[in-house]
């Protein structure tokens, strides 16, 4: 059998451009994890249901297990590694998860971090009910979500604290 043709793909991940040569069927999640080798993005179900693989594509949350890497050519992608502060400290959402014990095994967590990071950009002051709805598309098997809801509210608070002059 002939080898699979490879395609030139440029992914800008967390502000760093990566030139990759990938088969057309390579999933974006696999490209991020095994080619770019940023393994913070996790794969829980491979059919877009659990949300663990959520990354931001040009700022919008998407399921990286449902997209081929070639279709993301030229896009700017943010993973949980990219949600850190520029100095490497935990970002607001990550710090809030730490404060609120919003993670246990941590496997689903990167998908929540990216989802909530995007959400707070447009909803800086959510109510508890809105916070619960904001995470309604991500599965977690450990926490029962209560502390994740609390972390959404705490993250909004931290963001305000950090942006205060």
């Amino acid at each position: 059998m002939t080898p699979e043709p490879l395609h030139e793909v440029t992914l800008t991940v967390n502000h760093v451009p990566h030139q990759l040569r990938l088969p057309a069927r390579r999933l974006l999640s696999d490209a991020l994890r095994h080619d770019v080798r940023l393994t913070g993005t996790h794969v829980g179900c491979e059919h877009g249901v659990c949300g663990a693989c959520t990354v931001l594509l040009d700022g919008q949350p998407i399921r990286s297990c449902l997209m081929f890497a070639v279709t993301a050519d030229g896009a700017s992608i943010t993973t949980t590694e990219g949600c850190l502060e520029p100095d490497g400290e935990l970002g607001a959402v990550q710090e809030a998860f730490h404060d609120c014990h919003a993670l246990q095994c941590g496997f689903c967590t990167p998908g929540f971090i990216t989802t909530i990071t995007a959400y707070l950009e447009t909803h800086p002051n959510p109510s508890e009910q809105q916070a619960r709805e904001a995470i309604g598309g991500n599965l977690c098997r450990c926490t029962g979500y209560q502390n994740i809801v609390a972390a959404v509210l705490r993250a909004a608070e931290i963001k305000r604290e950090r942006s205060a002059p």
Binding site: R37, C105, P110, R141, Y145
Partner: protein
């Protein structure tokens, strides 16, 4: 002593790494390893006639294809029966690759090794297997009738039958003023951790050693199993558990076929080899739990006191029984909860079916037992028109009866003796938390608005911290940092934080100086594993005892250096000092230097311990005959028996009059796991357990069709709760210390899940006036119950 960390809400030390993407789960390792995919049986029961790989051989990137005939030595024998039991007369385990028969959809037949997973799956798709179909046995009823057999040599599909009895239950029931019989059932669910299983094996031919990473709940035992199966000296095998994305029981089973095959292939190919389970594989080739039918007869007095209880149940163990009879034995014994029926008989049959095997999932047989007992309590209350809480109270074991011996044998082979607990106090707290006595008024107000609401409660007792033992090793480094190792594994419970709290307190060092590793056989070789809510009890106690040893040694060495009596010394903030005289002190790092007499000054600290730097007695050896160099020590904890935690849940539900959807309005928990090390972590465990319980009560079931196909083997179809399905959970604690370990702790990991189906069934029953005997319950099933009641002409 500095501020005590034990009992504090300390933020987890694990978090920053996991939050910033620096966690290392199995598939984050070995990027350059060869990838494995399996041909798995599409049939529930079949003979394998022929395997044709000819169409696959030309695929670019294919490295090897293995089937049963390629296996050699002990790898070609059935996998071990991990927990033998005299009653398990017909235990059966699978082969690593199917020999000539497959017994469930998903059983591995052919292993493909290739350059990456995409290619491996291409090859899988080109391999043709011919089967002769055999009649599938699906569900307890089909298994029980014995018309078709899963294993030809297991008559009636019966793996085991077992009876335990205290007193003469039949006579006691006959003599009771009142009697009831109930048929109760619970369906299959599964652990479903967000990360499936996975194995990475790296054979080093030069060193003749094997390094295996696996997403397991017991690295020490996987190591022994791999060495035994591959006929390698145990000394040449190490097993490391990396970060694990949840376990909930399924990863305690070992060795999985893949845990043998991947290392075997790595040795054979002399290459790193990795297999990562995908979600569909996890559904059809790991393990499930919960499926049981129960036939219960209870006798009781007019006051609601149970005088005799007889339970017969049928446990669907799936196709194989590697984990023995643990789940049905736990149901048999933990069914009793906080109650004391005067006479009790329990009998079960563990039955084979052509489905995925059944092994413990968080709760491990207790949710079924609790469902049975609590349904009985509610049935008695309904019959007598008594308050449901009152009936429970009248049957409670009282605090002054502790320790309470049930006269039965528990899952660890030891007597079922409750060590402590105050059930009336727990119930009183729960009633107050949920507002039990005021609920009637709330119901009336709701009814006036056309709403149906109901309340239910359920109580459980959970044997935790089972033996035989756990251990720990602690070393104080010369920079004053403290390295703690324990052999059992971790999968999200915050063990590194909890164990660091204990060690920091015991040693008198700041917590930031303590680093904990778990589940790495290179660091600690003796352990049992993480299951049965045992880490705080077992490893917590082990590291506490070890820290006390290391502390004693530090004080002994420091007493020479400070020329003070040991009894006059204390350790504060990482310094040994004379009590009341903090000016006279030596830091623990310096004590570690002094503990190790040196010849060579490899760094500044070491220079202080060299032979010309320290005063010494020329007539004594530098290391005393009964001493060892280093400020370190190992210790073990092995309790006489399990310690029993308990809890009580109350739930308020509202049912939709039209759609029969169930909405949880309030969920209240009173939890007693003895002394609490970190309340934040304990509450997190309870939250997660309750959420899984709600999944099991209202949404999750394994939908097998009659041919043994699992129809909902995906997250799209198997409904696990999202945030929208889980209510805010209100928690109150009672702390009744255990007398069985030095910390007074009891396990907390599984607790939350146990009484949820029982409590929700009771609440729905209360709201609807229909009798609920099977869980989970879907809106359409509740709708059918309503309709049946209406057809009988009964009022709600």
């Amino acid at each position: 002593m500095t501020t005590k960390l034990f009992g504090q809400r300390i933020r987890r030390v694990e978090d920053p790494r996991l939050l910033s993407g620096r966690g290392r789960y199995l598939d984050d390792l070995g990027h350059d390893a060869l990838a494995v995919a399996f041909v798995r049986s599409p049939h529930a029961h079949a003979r394998v006639l022929d395997i044709d790989v000819s169409a696959a051989l030309e695929v670019e990137g294919l490295v090897a294809i293995f089937s049963y005939d390629d296996l050699d030595g002990k790898t070609s024998e059935p996998l071990p029966l991990l927990i033998p039991h005299p009653a398990l007369t017909h235990g059966r385990t699978p082969y690593a690759l199917a020999k000539d028969e497959v017994n469930h959809v998903g059983e591995a037949i052919v292993m493909v090794v290739a350059s990456d997973r995409y290619v491996a799956e291409d090859v899988v798709g080109l391999i043709r297997v011919d089967y002769e179909l055999l009649p599938p046995v699906v569900g307890v009823e089909r298994a029980r009738d014995g018309g078709a057999l899963v294993h030809d040599d297991v008559p009636g599909n019966v793996a085991a039958t077992m009876v335990q009895e205290v007193g003469d239950a039949a006579a006691a029931i006959d003599a009771s003023p009142r009697r009831q019989r109930l048929q109760l059932s619970i369906e299959r669910s599964a652990s479903m951790p967000m990360e499936g299983k996975g194995v990475l094996a790296r054979w080093d031919a030069d060193d003749e050693s094997l390094l295996v990473h696996t997403s397991t709940q017991t690295s020490t035992s996987v190591r022994q199993a791999i060495a035994a199966k591959l006929s390698l000296p145990v000394d040449r095998v190490e097993v490391v558990t990396p970060d694990v994305g949840g376990g909930f029981g399924v990863k305690i089973v070992h060795p999985w076929p893949e845990e043998i095959l991947v290392p075997w292939a790595s040795v054979r190919l002399n290459r790193p080899v990795k297999w990562v389970e995908d979600r569909r594989e996890h559904f059809i080739s790991s393990a499930h739990e919960r499926g049981q039918l129960h036939d219960v007869t209870v006798g009781y007095g007019d006051d609601g006191r149970v005088t005799g209880l007889s339970v017969q149940f049928w446990h669907d163990n799936g196709a194989y029984t590697p984990y023995g009879l643990i789940v049905p034995i736990i149901t048999s014994t933990q069914l009793l909860g906080p109650y004391k029926p005067t006479a009790y008989r329990v009998e079960f049959a563990s039955l084979y079916t052509n489905t995925v095997m059944v092994t413990p999932y968080r709760g491990a047989g207790r949710p079924q037992g609790c469902f049975v007992m609590e349904r009985v309590m509610d049935a008695i209350a309904a019959d007598l028109g008594l308050d449901r809480a009152l009936v429970r109270e009248r049957n409670f074991i009282q605090p002054d009866e502790m320790p309470y011996d049930h006269g039965l044998t528990f899952q660890d082979g030891r007597p079922l003796i409750y060590d402590s607990g105050d059930f009336p106090a727990s119930l009183s707290k729960l009633k107050q938390l949920v507002g039990w006595d005021d609920f009637a008024k709330y119901r009336e107000r709701a009814a006036a608005e056309g709403r149906r609401v109901g309340i239910g409660l359920a109580c459980y007792v959970e044997g935790t911290g089972v033996g035989p033992y756990e251990g720990g090793h602690i070393r104080v480094e010369t920079d004053g940092s403290v390295v703690v190792s324990t052999g059992l594994t971790t999968q999200g419970q915050g063990h590194q934080t909890m164990l660091a709290q204990i060690v920091a307190d015991e040693l008198g060092v700041p917590m930031e100086r303590v680093r904990v590793t778990t589940g790495d056989t290179r660091r600690f070789k003796y352990a049992v594993g993480t299951f049965a809510s045992r880490t705080a009890v077992m490893s917590g106690s082990a590291v506490a005892l070890t820290a006390r040893k290391v502390r004693a040694k530090a004080l002994r060495i420091a007493s020479n250096a400070l020329e003070a009596a040991v009894d006059d010394l204390e350790i504060v903030d990482g310094h040994v000092q004379v009590k009341g005289s903090p000016g006279s002190q030596v830091d623990l790092g310096a004590v570690a230097v002094l503990s190790n007499p040196l010849r060579y000054a490899f760094d500044e600290a070491a220079a202080r311990a060299t032979q010309f730097a320290t005063p010494h007695d020329p007539d004594q050896p530098p290391v005393a005959a009964d001493d060892e160099p280093g400020l370190e020590g190992s210790g073990f904890f092995s309790p006489t028996r399990s310690t029993f935690a308990n809890g009580m849940h109350a739930v308020v539900v509202e049912t939709d009059p039209d759609t029969a959807e169930v909405k949880i309005l309030r969920y209240c928990v009173v939890h007693d796991c003895g002394t609490i090390i970190n309340p934040m972590i304990v509450e997190g465990q309870v939250h997660g357990g309750v959420a899984q319980g709600i999944g099991g009560a209202l949404f999750e079931r394994m939908e097998y069709d009659e041919s043994g196909q699992l129809l909902n083997a995906s997250y799209m179809d198997f409904l696990m709760p999202y945030a929208s399905e889980i209510p805010h959970i209100e928690i109150d604690h009672l702390e009744t210390p255990s007398p069985l370990n030095p910390l007074g702790v009891k396990g907390a990991g599984e607790a939350g899940v146990i009484p949820v189906s029982a409590a929700i069934a009771a609440a729905i029953e209360d709201a609807e006036g229909v009798v609920i005997t099977a869980m989970p319950i879907s809106p359409s099933e509740l709708f059918d119950l309503r309709r049946a009641r209406e057809q009988r002409g009964e009022a709600r």
